[in-house]
Point group: C2
Amino acid sequence: MQEHIVTSFEEALDSINESLARMGGLAEKQLADSIEAITRRDRALAEQTVASDKQIDALEVDIEAQALRLIALRQPMAIDLRETVSAIKISSDLERIGDLAKNISKRALAVDQASPGRAMQGLERMGRQVLNQLKEVLDAYAQRDNDRAMVVWRRDEEIDEMYNSLFRELLTYMMEDPRTISLCTHLLFVAKNLERIGDHSTNIAETIQFLVTGEALGESRPKGDTTSVTSMEYPTDAETPTQS
Amino acid sequence: MQEHIVTSFEEALDSINESLARMGGLAEKQLADSIEAITRRDRALAEQTVASDKQIDALEVDIEAQALRLIALRQPMAIDLRETVSAIKISSDLERIGDLAKNISKRALAVDQASPGRAMQGLERMGRQVLNQLKEVLDAYAQRDNDRAMVVWRRDEEIDEMYNSLFRELLTYMMEDPRTISLCTHLLFVAKNLERIGDHSTNIAETIQFLVTGEALGESRPKGDTTSVTSMEYPTDAETPTQS
């Protein structure tokens, strides 16, 4: 975040890309820690994750300022302009990812009940997949590898499916045992946050496509989150599963 | 969205602002309709709202393309650059508002149970306030009125308070009557979406501040959504309120 004495467009862009690489690393760590904090109920880690989000926010402001200065002073065209605009877009997605991870950590601090083991396993699996997608898309960006970005883009459907199944599972727990309502509500929002982090990774994949090819993605991504149209019947006593 | 033959920077900017004004109007209508659809359980209106989000998405793509072309070809500086960048930022917030409203409408389609009247009243009140904030901030933008934008920015705290109280209320309903869990979960997400639409209005207010004064907001907005750290005890039978 120090001021650089910049002599060429390339140097200015290198400086932006350096900040962005750092920001990507921090967002990845923030997400990994928040998943760890909620699944292991690690309060110290949760508090640390909440605090460290400020660094990510500061980097976004810094990258945007550098990029706008660069556009204003150097008037980049074609690929150079796409590089600069892509940096702004990706830093905005990373800032949102940091925010969503912070929110997961806050919920880790609120969760004081033991939680249904199976639901936690599902959440952990979903978290691993979301983290993996973020790593992959940041690698794809570092290498300007559009094919690799498109793999991430297509694979988001799996996350949506995990989310749908977790959503139903958590609703079922609440219905079976209303004492878990407060806890399961927090876990529902955690799952939703993970699903949205997945969406931000696909946004980054789309930006890579635009950066590398100069064309926006025409095909629209299959949307797999169907929970907004999910309606579950409250089971009658006879139908209620007996496991607690 | 037709191609304009542009002869000056001002004309190009006018064209962008025209698209943005249209987009603002559509986002406002989308939000008003989605609130109406969920509170009156109007399926036809909900379906129509889901379908009309495409128009808002298309306008975002169009505005971003116009703005980038303008930056690349005309190299605006100072206020002109801020005008152009602000248009990109505001269109991105409006696109998210359209998305969140679409999601509310989808949930209106899923809600097939009668709902606790009091919760619905709270949701309606919150919806009115969120809609009012969006209208105010779009007016502030149209008039480049920073004072008016700052009123919106400060008033977001009230929405956060409404959200916190609705959150607790809905959790209480679920605990009192587990048959409402599926319904109340949808209403929880609707409330969360409204709270996030409020956040996007404050983002727009911050962009207006940057546009008018050239400076980013230093002071950080008071964050009032505390539900991520809310932990509710399941009431014992003796404590359970008796009203249904």
